[in-house]
Point group: C2
Chain length 223, copies 2
DNA sequence: CGGTGTCTCACCCCTGGGTGTGAGAGACAG
DNA sequence: CTGTCTCTCACACCCAGGGGTGAGACACCG
């Protein structure tokens, strides 16, 4: 099955070059092109391509906004994937594009065979990034220290205390916790007190902070 | 400058195959190999390769642990990069490996030229992932909504209230906040009370949670 | 000019929560 | 078997914090 492709780039020469290169592949067919973001959105709505090669910088409407609209208007049946292209390696664009749902991000100076490979990969539902982009993405998210320091704070806590702290970090009152653990409120108070003493806290508010900072609980995790 | 490479895999045939393939490249030299994790750590300590091709599954010590140790013992001068390999596409391994600091993750069924490319890319300091892995990584991190829902909760707060909430989320007592903002404790109580009313909170502990969940404050940010 | 919103502050009430002390039961190691 | 640790609970103290009501000072806007 051939890959139905669209090219959105403001430079005619680039469009022609990419089209020639990709049309030469037996499994790729360039079905449309556009010279700005608005035209890209309109053309995508008309031709429903499998994949759009989208330049980031374009007049009238940039590639990011165009990508957003194309992805937004994709009716469940035919989903169009986006492969972003950029001349420069500007990472602001990268994160924004990936967040929007783009499936890939390549630099224009990549060798032609890489582009062809990328088209096939993205069209198959996988994703592909330029190596430098990959590195940044990984760094960005895993740069967050594995906090050996932080979890060490919690090492002094017993299993039960950790459990109580987790409940405190969910916003429960002592009474709530007592009910939840089926123990008396006094017991909960004892646990909470020992947690404070061990971790040098004063408030249950500070305990919540500690739980988040230590990674015991995380923003966005199942409540 | 040639890339000094090490291969860690428990299957001798795989080691031989990779070595032959890579040694055939003029810019790559296989300087060591290892058949298990422990041997890999020892060999890396001895040869200081630029790059280690590391199989995930190995006897005695798995590739993840070996990677962790090699990365941990890298003295600032000679840093060794890790390219993880796996036969199966098990994503638990992927996240763990990348979190540890691996620079890439490939499936063994990738075409040989991809492996060679990956070696050069990773050795150059960039990163490279198998397409399916890339897709998952992107999904994993951008699937979490940029929380238009969450920040919208905070929209009802005035600038001053937001400021107070931020201080609450740092673990400050009302008295602390009053001193910090140079207002009376009563004023702080009023603000805090209105925050609770607007956000439907009961505790300052819950306020801290709200601050983290909304992204007003983030784990690991400057205290 | 009057209405609205924000920031400020005060007084009162009272419960929840943080603190201290003490202690019994069960598990486990030496 | 004795010491240590953990989990459990109780009584008591006290105050920071949450809740209600009201109000003065600005600023902004129609």
């Amino acid at each position: 099955m051939t890959i139905r492709l669209m090219i959105a780039d403001d430079q005619a020469m680039v469009r022609a070059g990419f089209a020639a290169l990709l049309n030469a592949q037996s499994d790729i067919e360039v079905v449309a092109d556009a010279e700005d973001g608005e035209a890209a959105v309109a053309a995508a709505r008309l031709h429903h391509p499998d994949l759009v090669l989208m330049d980031v910088r374009m007049p009238r409407m940039d590639g990011l906004e165009a990508a957003r609209r194309i992805l937004a208007t994709s009716d469940g049946a035919h989903l169009t994937r986006i492969l972003m292209l950029t001349t420069f390696d500007v990472d602001d664009y990268v994160y924004e594009a990936l967040r929007l749902g783009a499936s890939g991000f390549l630099l224009k100076d990549a060798p032609p065979e890489d582009l062809i490979t990328a088209v096939r990969v993205v069209a198959s539902g996988e994703a592909l990034l330029a190596p430098s982009v990959t590195r940044r993405l990984i760094e960005e998210f895993f740069a967050r220290p594995t906090e050996p320091v932080r979890t060490s704070m919690l090492e002094s806590l017993t299993a039960r205390e950790t459990e109580v702290l987790r409940l405190v970090a969910r916003g429960m009152s002592n009474t709530d916790i007592a009910a939840h653990l089926v123990v008396s409120v006094q017991t909960v108070k004892t646990h909470v007190g020992k947690i404070f003493a061990k971790l040098g806290l004063r408030d249950r508010a500070q305990a919540v902070i500690c739980a988040y900072e230590s990674g015991l609980v995380t923003a966005g995790d199942p409540r």
